[in-house]
């Protein structure tokens, strides 16, 4: 009855089952395109053009700093770690920050950078996602030589890349090593689970350091790794977490953009977890042991001070515990005092440089020798950055 009033009869066939069928994918389509739509940037050099600087144009004394994230800034992970750093530096005198989240690694990020420069008057940009660098940052940096671009990842090459670009990264595997000690000391089943995005060097280094840490206090420990294939695959991450728990793992950790799903699944299933990127303790009040966190505040502050002083910072900046680039989440209630002591001891040695994670004799998980007895690779060793192996103690393969 009512429908007849609303729909003219001849349009009824058009609203048949077919359209209902279409509606679902379309809804997800709107969602899917979000990735690109939202990201955007908006535009406009209007600040200068129409004389209506709006909230945008900064006074001479203020330095406007732009932060760009590939995912949501409250993801409990990679993006949140950067966002927390941004919020911390926004409190410094003479600083105004502008943030944009969920910007894909496409032309969108180029437009966002240009928009921040043209419209917000940004002079310093932190486009944080690894994939923003080439070609996006390189292209925009050439176009705007007065603006400084600092990128997270360590890709800068002297002589090849524009002078107003720099890279920073941290030896977060040091914190993973300590988290591994805590996990290895706490596990009852001697089985740890590691859920990772892709078998790329940065990820492998974390898996290996975690395993070496765990086995340094408990040689019986075995770490099973599952690669999900991409940085944000919440469903696969949950499946992997459940599967690892079913196989007997009682501590889980991860290297994906947002560890949220893994940590929550572990908590729900009553097993322990260690975090990554940011502090996830509030997601798992019972089972969260500790976590490897970035401390970008420190890095950003250093860059901002250099910029305010009118200098270009070093093109390549790196550091671990000793330079304050990374930190550990506070230990959870389930961590015993003995394990805490072991962890703190390792952390102190790593900070002092007296403990080197990659030292011989070290074999991969197929028995091939990687580092001969007596030899060692300092954190700064460049060969660690093209790591393509899993150390003994890791169950899993790269392909």
């Amino acid at each position: 009855m009512k429908r007849r009033l609303v729909l003219p009869a001849r349009s009824v066939p058009r609203f048949s089952r077919r359209i209902a069928l279409v509606a679902l994918p379309l809804l997800s389509a709107t969602h899917g395109c979000s990735k690109k739509d939202e990201a955007p940037a908006a535009p406009a050099s209007a600040a200068a053009a129409d004389g209506k600087p709006a909230a945008a144009a900064p006074s001479d004394a203020t330095l406007t700093v732009g932060f760009i994230y590939v995912g949501p800034k409250d993801d409990y992970g990679y993006n949140q770690a950067h966002h927390e750093g941004a919020v911390a530096v926004s409190k410094l005198p003479g600083i105004k920050i502008r943030e944009e989240e969920k910007v894909p690694e496409t032309l969108d990020v180029q437009k966002t950078m240009e928009s921040m420069i043209n419209l917000d008057g940004a002079k310093l940009l932190f486009p944080t996602s690894f994939g923003y660098f080439d070609p996006h940052i390189l292209k925009i940096a050439e176009k705007y030589p007065d603006v400084k671009f600092f990128h997270c990842g360590g890709l800068y090459q002297e002589g090849k890349h524009p002078k107003n670009v720099g890279s920073y990264f941290g030896y977060i595997d040091e914190a993973e090593y300590v988290a591994g000690i805590v996990a290895g000391g706490t596990t009852k089943s001697n089985k740890l689970g590691f859920i990772a995005a892709k078998p790329i060097p940065q990820v492998l280094r974390n898996i290996n350091s975690y395993t070496l840490g765990a086995r340094s206090v408990n040689p019986k420990v075995e770490v099973t790794v599952i690669f999900t294939g991409d940085w944000a695959m919440p469903v696969k991450e949950a499946e992997a977490a459940n599967s690892l728990i079913d196989q007997g793992a009682d501590v889980l950790t991860s290297h994906v953009d947002s560890p949220k799903v893994v940590i929550e699944t572990a908590e729900k299933r009553g097993v322990f977890s260690t975090g990554y990127h940011a502090n996830q303790a509030q997601l798992a009040p019972k089972g969260y042991l500790t976590g490897a966190e970035w401390n970008w505040e420190k890095v950003y502050q250093a860059y901002i001070e250099k910029t305010q002083a009118g200098q270009m910072a070093d093109h390549l900046v790196r550091g671990g515990f000793s330079s304050g680039f990374i930190k550990l989440s506070p230990y959870g209630a389930a961590v015993s005092d003995a394990v805490k002591a072991q962890a703190e001891d390792a952390k102190a040695k790593l900070t002092a440089g007296s403990l080197v994670i990659y030292q011989g004799p070290l074999k991969d998980n197929a028995g091939k020798e990687l580092i001969a007895a007596g030899a060692k690779k300092e954190p700064t060793d460049i060969t660690l950055e093209s790591m393509n192996y899993l150390v003994a103690g890791v169950k899993g393969t790269l392909n």
Partner: protein
């Protein structure tokens, strides 16, 4: 356009006898041509009013938000170019849904054709390294279009020969396409130097297509517009287009009239896939210079939305793409000026989509008071 012509096939089922129209004395019906403008316009106004209410609830003055959106999308030269740039992939990916829709198919697998087009273009660019740039570029675009055509053409073939639902198969093919891309860039086609971001080798600076002269927009825009015009001519002004509409309206009747139904279905799907594949090739040839996971950015899915909003009409895709490109371009500004969440523009898109679909019901029902009675 008239409701009866624009979505052939979408509702080939259940024909019903037309209900007698209730005539209100003194009211005349709008003509179909006028309706085609008035109703979408009305839907736009309603959408923006609803969106305004939404941002007001979020604690921001709607007019200021609209002003910033205008500034972000069209207000300055930089903004306008930003909008044009964002519209260009949508022009092509929308055709991937629009062309098969003329033959009554609902294809939503543009994303797969897009990423495979990009992958094929990247592979061709690497494979042809050393050839003159024109050869490389021609090879890349042929490969991209061909990959997209094969992919969506396969969905059309399954539909035509085996009766497999093309909506489901094209969507599932997209997932396979994305998995293929990841496999190739992380495996056989990987540039060993791309350590932490697996990619194919770079196609070489000389082979990159630059921006159009005087603009910060790449050539994909022009190609997209030409493709939309060509799609319009094909669907509205050719015998083949007419036979496709016939298939969309009633495949059995079309077969009885001597139309080769399978052929029409497969060709329309392949053409749509070729358009999306070309868009993917532009992404590699004009933006990234190599194929990698950045191709999976949702352009293919966004094209579905464009096509439906444009009611699968080649000409209408152009303004709709610009419009959605503009919304996309203004999204960042809303985040930065008002601190609105990034999903804000999604809310607007969702409202637009629902209101426009709902406005379909108004065709043939909008009346105005004839001047004589009005006085």
């Amino acid at each position: 356009m008239q409701a009866t012509t624009e979505s052939p096939g979408l509702g080939a089922a259940a024909p019903r006898p037309a209900a007698p129209k209730t005539r209100v004395p003194g009211l005349g019906a709008l003509g179909p041509r006028l309706e085609a403008f008035v109703i979408p316009l009305l839907a736009l106004v309603v959408s923006f009013v609803l969106f305004g209410a939404f941002v007001a609830l979020a604690g921001h003055p709607p007019l200021a938000v609209f002003y910033e959106m205008y500034r972000g999308a069209f207000g300055t030269w930089f903004s306008f170019q930003n909008t044009l740039q964002r519209a260009s992939p949508l022009l092509l990916t929308a055709l991937c849904t629009a062309l098969p829709a003329r033959a009554g198919l609902v294809v939503i697998g543009g994303e797969g054709a897009f990423v495979l087009g990009g992958l094929a273009a990247g592979a061709a660019g690497v494979g042809l390294a050393g050839s003159p740039p024109t050869t490389v570029v021609a090879g890349m675009f042929s490969a991209g279009a061909l990959a997209g055509a094969l992919w969506i053409g396969a969905a059309g073939l399954l539909r035509a020969k085996r009766g497999v639902n093309e909506t489901i198969s094209s969507l599932l093919l997209s997932y396979i396409g994305i998995a293929l891309l990841n496999h190739c860039v992380e495996g056989p086609l990987r540039d060993p130097e791309s350590l932490n971001k697996p990619s194919t080798r770079h196609i070489g600076e000389a082979n990159l297509i630059g921006a159009m002269p005087g603009l910060d927009v790449h050539w994909g825009l022009v190609v997209g517009i030409v493709a939309c015009l060509a799609a319009y001519v094909l669907t509205e002004r050719t015998v083949f287009g007419f036979s496709a509409a016939l298939v969309g309206g009633n495949a059995r009747a079309a077969r009885l009239s001597g139309v080769k139904v399978s052929q029409v279905l497969i060709i329309m799907c392949a053409l749509g896939g070729a358009a999306a594949g070309t868009a993917g090739a532009f992404e590699v040839a004009a933006v990234h210079g190599r194929a990698n996971a950045s191709l999976v950015a949702g352009y293919g899915y966004a094209g579905i939305l464009v096509s439906f909003l444009a009611r699968h009409h080649g000409l209408a895709i152009i303004p709709v793409s610009l419009f959605l490109g503009g919304i996309a371009a203004s999204g960042g500004l809303l985040q930065r000026v008002f601190g609105l969440p990034d999903a804000t523009v999604n809310v607007l898109q969702g409202i637009l989509f629902v209101v426009l679909i709902a406005s379909d019901t108004l065709y043939g029902r909008v009346r105005y008071r004839a001047p004589a009675e009005a006085s």
